[in-house]
């Protein structure tokens, strides 16, 4: 479904992403793991054509055999939200504070589908139900929700139009551990129910093992290691991956100082 070939992204002289390849099948899930500044988020944004103006993109991003890089604004608008949706890192700020959440879920539907407001409201209520938010919160404002609930709202917005691919850019970073497990379980259930592809960006290796089948480890704009999640995590080969997995504290071994990379 999504096929990225030799993607290079540069800002002036600085090259942020130095030629990476990856692909995601229908219903498949791919996680990109790496430290801050390794080019994960920029790669994700480039799939939606949302890079800042000073970025230059080389290579091919094929989504259902169409090159996203060569699309104009109108084609991109039809792609965003309808085919590819995105969940951001910060649910606190990615919701618009001046609209009720129901209004914001309806907006995706109203932009992409020719339906009336009452039909959109019905669908939005279904979407809310699906992410486990009671219907009577439909006209509440974002500041009336907790972080975990806001992230559910963001997911409901992303899923409203039943996209083929969901990009989740560190969706649990701003949340506490138990809430993030709920969110991951929710994403996984929705992925299985709908056969949707998930492109997952994180630096949390524990989450990766529970959601992704494939994993790419990125460092300074390159993919240093890739493969089946369980294989990569259990028998890492690249020194960076080895170091990364060694940094995860374990509850089974005796406490000792964690290694640095």
């Amino acid at each position: 479904m999504l096929d990225v070939k030799n993607l290079r992204i540069s800002f002036g002289k600085h090259v942020a992403v130095q030629g990476i390849d990856f692909s995601i099948e229908h219903g498949g899930s791919l996680a990109i793991v790496g430290e801050s500044g390794s080019g994960k988020s920029i790669s994700a944004l480039s799939i939606l054509g949302l890079l800042p103006k000073n970025a230059t993109v080389e290579g091919e991003i094929l989504f259902e055999d169409q090159n996203v890089c060569k699309m104009n604004n109108i084609q991109l608008q039809k792609l965003r939200g309808k085919k590819i949706a995105m969940v951001f890192q910060e649910p606190m700020t990615s919701l618009n504070p001046v609209f009720s959440i129901g209004e914001q879920i309806m907006e995706t539907l109203l932009v992409h589908e020719s339906i009336t407001r009452s039909e959109a409201k019905q669908q939005a209520l279904l979407a809310l139900e699906e992410v486990g938010i009671p219907k009577n919160r439909f006209s509440s404002y974002p500041h009336e929700f907790s972080g975990g609930m806001r992230q559910r709202v963001v997911i409901a917005i992303a899923l409203a139009c039943t996209p083929d691919l969901l990009i989740a850019d560190e969706p649990t970073t701003a949340l506490d551990t138990s809430t993030s497990l709920h969110i991951i379980a929710l994403l996984k259930r929705l992925q299985q129910d709908r056969g949707m592809g998930i492109f997952f960006i994180t630096h949390d290796l524990c989450l990766v093992s529970s959601i992704a089948d494939q994993i790419c480890v990125m460092r300074s704009g390159k993919i240093v290691e890739r493969g089946e999640t369980s294989m990569v995590l259990s028998t890492p080969t690249h020194p960076y991956t080895v170091a990364l997995t060694a940094c995860v504290p374990s509850i089974y071994t005796k406490r000792k100082r964690l290694p640095t990379i």
Binding site: L76, Q77, R80, G81, T93, L95, N96, V98
Partner: protein, 303 residues
């Protein structure tokens, strides 16, 4: 203390509505005929310069609340009509300023880049010019033109002068509004919620009308209510200098200017200066309260 009392009894809106009704009633009364002419312009030298009192020598009247001026005109009626003129000039000028400033600021902030730079340099240049002098130039130029035209009816001339005045005040007060609005739009544009709106496929126009505009509505309202008093003050200032609203039309500015000459070491006819000034002050306070209430209504966090 007064503020706390108002907050306790939640009666700002009631007070405001009462004041408004009283003012409209006063306006109708002041504009109404009384024997020898409309109340605010009828002269009677016999009762000139009377201090405020409940019992008066003004013919056919029971009382003169604010006293009378040099020509024996009822100051209360003149203050009310002058207020109506001052407030309408202020509101109209503020409306022009906010409309122009919001348009300019949002377009600059939203387009960004070279458009933004060019538009803001225009604002910078205009900022450099002394505002009041510009207003003076515009009004003088227009009144000069009116003199040359073959407009013979005096009310029409007055109307054109008043319109020129409010356009001039509006044309110099939009600069601050546009800067503030542009700043707001710039900070909004970098908010993740706007990026999020883009990722769900919202187009440029919808992004503008459905995401940016509602978010800056609070700011626009606050600025509008701040601009109205400023515009009223500018009008009063110009009329005080004798450039704005001209006799025989009253305005708070020219009433105060008249009153000032009556305040000296020989005699102090204080009511002539105090009454219009008190009315300006009350109006400004009331408008600020109204702005605050509006903000509470618009901002979802207070709703």
């Amino acid at each position: 203390m007064f503020g706390r009392w108002i907050a306790k009894y939640k009666c700002t809106s009631t007070i405001g509505v009462c004041l408004l009704v009283a003012m409209i009633a006063g306006l109708v009364w002041s504009l109404s005929e009384n024997g020898s002419g409309r109340r605010f312009e009828r002269t009677n030298v016999a009762v000139a310069l009377q201090p405020p009192s409940w019992v008066t020598q003004l013919d056919n009247e029971q009382f003169s609340l604010f006293g009378t001026d040099q020509l024996g005109r009822d100051l209360f009626a003149r203050c009310i009509v002058g207020g109506a003129i001052s407030i309408s000039v202020g509101v109209a000028a503020a409306f022009i300023a906010v409309l122009l400033g919001t348009l300019w600021g949002t377009i600059a902030g939203f387009c960004g880049g070279k458009t933004d730079a060019a538009m803001m340099r225009v604002v910078d240049v205009l900022y450099g010019l002394p505002a009041i002098m510009l207003v003076v130039l515009i009004t003088v130029a227009v009144s000069g033109l009116v003199e040359n035209w073959t407009i013979t009816s005096p009310p029409l001339r007055e109307l054109i002068n008043v319109i020129a005045l409010l356009m001039a005040i509006g044309a110099v007060s939009w600069l601050t509004v546009s800067r503030v609005i542009r700043g707001q739009v710039l900070s909004l544009r970098s908010r993740p919620s706007i990026d999020a709106a883009k990722t769900i496929g919202v187009g440029r126009i919808r992004l503008f009308t459905h995401h940016i505009l509602p978010s800056i509505l609070g700011t626009i309202i606050v600025y509008a209510t701040l601009t109205v008093p400023t515009a009223i003050l500018s009008e009063a200032f110009l009329s005080f200098l004798g450039i704005g609203i001209r006799e025989p039309l009253p305005s708070w500015g020219n009433l105060a200017a008249d009153g000032l000459s009556q305040l000296n070491t020989v005699h102090s006819r204080w009511w002539l200066l105090l009454c219009p000034c008190l009315m300006i002050a009350t109006t400004l306070v009331v408008i600020n309260y109204a702005g605050q209430q509006l903000r509470y209504k618009v901002d979802p966090k207070y709703a």
